[in-house]
Symmetry: C2
Subunit: 384 residues, 2 copies
């Protein structure tokens, strides 16, 4: 944004100019690099959100989402707001005031789940695990045994704040044994590591577009099992949020007997999502997971050679989000600013208790490639 003025200058001179962002390579926790095919799709002409062609697109998106989530769930759809709204939608639709929810916290996003339960008047039971570790499955088993009346078990599959993967399969199995519905945050998972909604018997699973799908941020993706849908139907208290009320949303997204207007869908964002899902379908889910795993190995080897240590144990590391401890003497903010200025490379800072101590290096979607790894290692070399 070479020609842009500061706000104060702009107010004085009344001069605004078009925004020309400097192209970056995005290797933080998201947004990740957007593929040119996705950008091109989003630039196509806007049509009406009730246009027959748009309705056809909606059907294809639902079908492709079922492929990506590995589910046959009828209620599988995009939401017109970011991942945090998808999280809120999961709780808002499943939880009624007074319902007991066991929430696993091992990073920022588990904490946000707990905050959702508090605000919605749920009875919150926390299972806390150290940052950088997966959710402690044994502790969850013990908690569920103690709280037989819990309705919901909620956890983050891929903790974007720590780079740790939790054992979603084991946690979903526990929830089923205790007759709980699961809410699974898979914002950073989808397309990057195995996610098997039906195979694991997960109930409500949501994700985002700006991680391993290589879309711009702005919308999110969610799927509800039949059991979860039944629970929504059985509510006695209406969902407080009109915007996130699943029953209203489905009247628009469901094809049966025509579409009912709910809100105006973000038309062009849906073009981008469709293209990104198409690309994932072309590559194949398993191939995409393997590519993320392979690229992670290459990056990890390079980072280790440069003196960085991984915080997460190998078994639980997310290939798409590498949390590494800074070597002694490396100034966090200064080094990131230098890499941004000289290499147009963005890596992510630490959050919460990791602030200033770690970097979060993303290898998400199209950004999980050899050229990005080479750039990243060269840039880090330059600031060491």
């Amino acid at each position: 944004m070479v020609q842009a003025l500061t706000t104060d200058e702009a107010s004085v001179t009344n001069q605004y100019v078009s925004f020309q962002p400097t192209p970056r390579t995005l290797m933080g926790p998201g947004p990740s690099d957007v593929h040119p095919r996705v950008s091109a799709a989003m630039g196509r002409p806007t049509i009406g959100h009730l246009d027959p062609e748009f309705q056809q697109l909606m059907d294809e998106i639902k079908s492709l989402l079922r492929y990506a989530f590995k589910t046959e769930n009828k209620l599988t759809l995009p939401l017109s707001a970011p991942g945090s709204a998808a999280m809120e939608s999961a709780f808002a639709n499943l939880l009624q005031p007074g319902d007991k929810a066991v929430v696993c916290v091992n990073g920022v996003f588990g904490g946000r789940m707990a905050e959702n339960v508090r605000r919605m008047g749920g009875e919150l039971v926390l299972v806390e695990s150290p940052w950088g570790s997966p959710v402690d499955v044994a502790a969850v088993a013990k908690t569920l045994a103690e709280h037989g009346d819990a309705k919901i078990l909620a956890f983050v599959h891929s903790e974007t704040s720590t780079g740790a993967r939790s054992d979603a399969q084991a946690l979903c199995k526990l929830a089923q044994e205790h007759n709980c519905l699961t809410i699974v945050d898979a914002v950073t998972s989808l397309g990057g590591i195995e996610l098997d909604v039906d195979g694991w018997g997960a109930d409500v699973v949501y994700s985002g577009t700006q991680k391993c799908l290589s879309c711009p941020p702005g919308i999110s993706l969610i799927t509800f099992s039949d059991k979860a849908a039944e629970a929504v139907k059985a509510r006695t208290v209406p969902v407080q949020s009109w915007f996130l009320d699943l029953s209203l949303l489905m009247a628009y997204w469901d094809g049966d007997g025509g579409r009912t207007y709910h809100h105006t869908a973000p038309v062009n964002a849906m073009y981008g999502l469709h293209e990104a899902l198409l690309m994932l379908h072309e590559e194949g889910l398993e191939a995409s997971w393997q590519r993320h795993a392979d690229m992670h190995q290459k990056l990890a080897s390079g980072l280790t050679n440069l003196g960085f240590e991984f915080v997460v144990e190998p078994e639980y590391r997310l290939p798409q989000l590498n949390l590494v401890r800074l070597p002694a003497g490396l100034d966090d903010a200064k080094a990131r600013a230098s890499m941004l200025a000289n290499f147009n490379l963005e890596v992510g800072a630490g959050l919460g208790e990791f602030a200033g101590k770690v970097w979060r290096i993303g290898l998400m979607g199209q950004a999980a490639c050899d050229s990005n790894i080479a750039l990243c290692l060269a840039a880090i070399q330059s600031v060491k």
Copy 2:
């Protein structure tokens, strides 16, 4: 989407193709035609939502939004979700359970406001006016006099379901006299007709991007007066929605002392919004209002010649949304389908009690131009 398959066929053959929408001329109730400058802006490279260049963009957007809303309100920002989420944000932040809200209903969107109050546990007082008429100011005065404990007066400035403009200035004045905070739906107003937030003393005003700003749908715009901001601070019950909680949003959007991560902003949508606001600033607010008024006169004259009657009285007609009764013998769905197929022209159907009886013809933003009017009149001529 010539090559696309139905979902069933696609599932069988495993064939998906990129979505190629047929370019349309959008003269419905929104989304409206997107200007090529806005499309081009949205196609620029995605950068991080905490990138220094993005933070600069955020400052410029806030400054340009203040220009568009005619306000000095510090709390003026875009929201990462459509207009209906902005409506929900207004109520969610101002209303506490038990608070009394007077809601004016003269169409679909006033009804949605009432639904927000019900879901949030507010005490709802309705002032109903006929569809196609403005909100009855005298009835509001009477109701406010009877309900001295009302905290909120909410109304729709431009009813997108009926094409009627209400007297926002008079209603805001009444609210001030009765010590009420106003919530004003200006989704279809901004850029199309006079909107003077500070001049009228409106408290919470929200709008959308897909109407007279000529952006794609997906995000919304909101401003809070100092008095409204004080009311949010004075809350004793937390906002139930984490996603829409103004106090959290401002920690990200407010520059003072750095930005706190809340959610990942829809980066590319913000590029588009910035460009659209820039174009409004270049044309000038008053010039944009005048253009909408002039184009409305031309369209209205043509429609009258073709036998269409306006439902709304001249004084309260929205120039940007023309609600006309279909002449006898004109088949609503068939005629719209024909204009879409043969002219790639979209006009809007009637909603609610107007369904099947009227069309809503938009002249919004860049679509308010001579060529669109000529196309529209020619297309209508062809189906009569």
